[in-house]
Symmetry: C2
């Protein structure tokens, strides 16, 4: 924890958002664990909801006082990639905490205030949300949209069979997204009792605790010795990608959203002989908010149940430790 200067409007398209709730992402654990090196202190956190305090002169859609959801990146929603549904590839956007765009810093979300570039494109206003909705709305920043992206990328739809590899918050949201999209059977791979229970509540019909060859066999045994139509890879390691590819039936599809860690290999010859496709990547959650928000507001889905620990921002360090040690699925932070 450190004190830093308040952010300032750098362009006419910016907004300054006071953070109401933020959270810790599995990917935040990489610098925490030293897997990615951190040379000098930097601001972190990319998931937040908050209230708009100031807007630039060119901002038209977002107003001071709005409660807003921020995706884990900024985007203008007008470029060709945004219009194609892939706002993560916005030609003018970028990432929190990593950039010095427009001559100013775009802060991390684990803080009190954030400068949001392209406020009109990036932010989604939600009129006066009830306090109990806030954790659910916060998941639309990343984790629920990312689980949904895994499902969409794998082609989940009515009647499909699904395997979800990974029981972190993204994997659990991928189970919820698969049920929401009408999957007939959903196998959650998890060896952790509390996560297994939440997976079942989110719609998993089966839980497989085995991994590796045994995990593949346990999955295939549930599908006449073959595999599932759709496999959702929500981890990002070589082992999890291998598990995913071998859990798909011939002609099936792997939707992957785990940030690739340690260069997972895609065995192109095996993919070729089995016609198993691979599709996914960094989730365009801003594009998905329009579809998912009504179900959050109605209570049809309650993705915020992945938060099993809530801490004041000042205790962020304990939040990281709890996630690192797998004592918590996902930690919500309140400034």
């Amino acid at each position: 924890m450190d004190e830093v200067p308040d952010p300032r409007l750098a362009t006419g398209r910016d907004a300054i958002v006071r953070v109401v709730a933020a959270c810790v992402c599995g990917s935040d654990l990489w610098p925490y664990r030293g897997v990615t090196k951190t040379i000098e202190p930097k601001r972190i956190g990319h998931e937040f909801v908050g209230v708009v305090e100031r807007v630039g002169d060119d901002v038209q859609r977002i107003r001071v006082g709005d409660f807003v959801i921020a995706p884990f990146y900024d985007c203008d929603r007008t470029c060709a990639n945004c219009r194609n549904g892939f706002s993560t590839s916005c030609l003018h956007g970028g990432w929190w905490g990593d950039d010095d765009r427009d001559g100013a810093f775009a802060d991390g979300g684990q803080g009190e205030r954030v400068r949001v570039p392209h406020a009109d494109g990036s932010l989604t206003p939600v009129p006066d949300p009830a306090p109990e909705l806030i954790p659910h709305l916060l998941t639309l920043s990343d984790v629920m949209g990312t689980g949904h992206h895994a499902a969409v990328s794998a082609g989940v739809g009515p009647g499909k069979t699904v395997v979800v590899v990974g029981d972190g918050a993204v994997g659990l949201c991928a189970v919820l997204a698969s049920r929401r999209l009408g999957a007939e059977r959903i196998v959650a791979m998890s060896r952790h009792e509390a996560r297994q229970a939440l997976a079942r509540e989110f719609g998993a019909t089966d839980v497989v605790a085995e991994r590796g060859d045994e995990g593949v066999q346990a999955v295939r045994a549930r599908f006449d010795g073959s595999g599932a139509d759709c496999v959702l890879e929500c981890v990002g390691t070589k082992e999890s990608m291998d598990q995913a590819l071998r859990s798909a039936r011939p002609g099936g599809q792997v939707g992957y959203v785990g940030v690739p860690n340690g260069d997972p290999e895609l065995p192109v010859r095996r993919m070729f002989s089995t016609n198993v496709g691979v599709r996914g990547g960094v989730a365009p959650v801003r594009n998905y908010i329009d579809e998912l928000l009504p179900d959050v507001l109605s209570g049809a889905i309650q993705p915020g149940r992945v938060f099993d620990l809530e801490l004041p921002l000042a205790e962020a360090a304990e939040g990281y430790a709890a996630m690192d040690e797998r004592r918590a699925i996902k930690v919500l932070l309140r400034p």
Copy 2:
């Protein structure tokens, strides 16, 4: 060329087909060139049409005298994979010339007669085709179905933009398939004049002769600096796969049918950051015949135009040489 014993019925589900027309596949050039080793003489050829001479006792749908199209593999069309649309992964099928299934040999198609296992599943009867239709029907054995598979795997449909990498017979059929599926713009990558011309007749709206970085730039320049919705990889080398991946827009899809040669790499980190998916493989052409045959019979598509050299079977060696030296796009052989 060699004389071998006539094939015999080995199971009640077999048929013996007298070959009327066969052809040479680009993949047949691999053993020809020594890229894949051939230890001892073996029968070759996997694309043929012909007339049924004998059927086993359990064959019900196929009759002696039927003119039939054989796919480049056999399949029962009743197993789960066949029903899922992926008969190339038939749980009971196999490949011509490679197997000793049911205690008998399934011959190659470049010969006078072939034993066809699972005749009811594998063969498609075509009542009394006009002689001029035969080349077009023959393409449903492999090359047209494979081009169609590239398009289907890449998600080609009405209004989509398409790039086809590879100007062999499969690439040209992929152009034709893309037009048939309603693509709005089709860029054929070719530096060979005759193939460029056929690509245009098949529906290509643009031809790009450049390769590598220049090829990628020439493609992107046609799509606002981005790339196409769908890229059809019809070669199978490291270079062609790289070309394909870099020609897709963020969120685009590569459909690949080139048999992977020299382990093309799939750069998972770049795929992740751009959301470019990869899907394809060995084409389930038997499943596609039902959809494509009516358009061949009506003349709506004329995929047999890829045959620009026709030889008697006895001159097969010249057919291989002509394709190897790129003097011919694809060679039709008549026993």
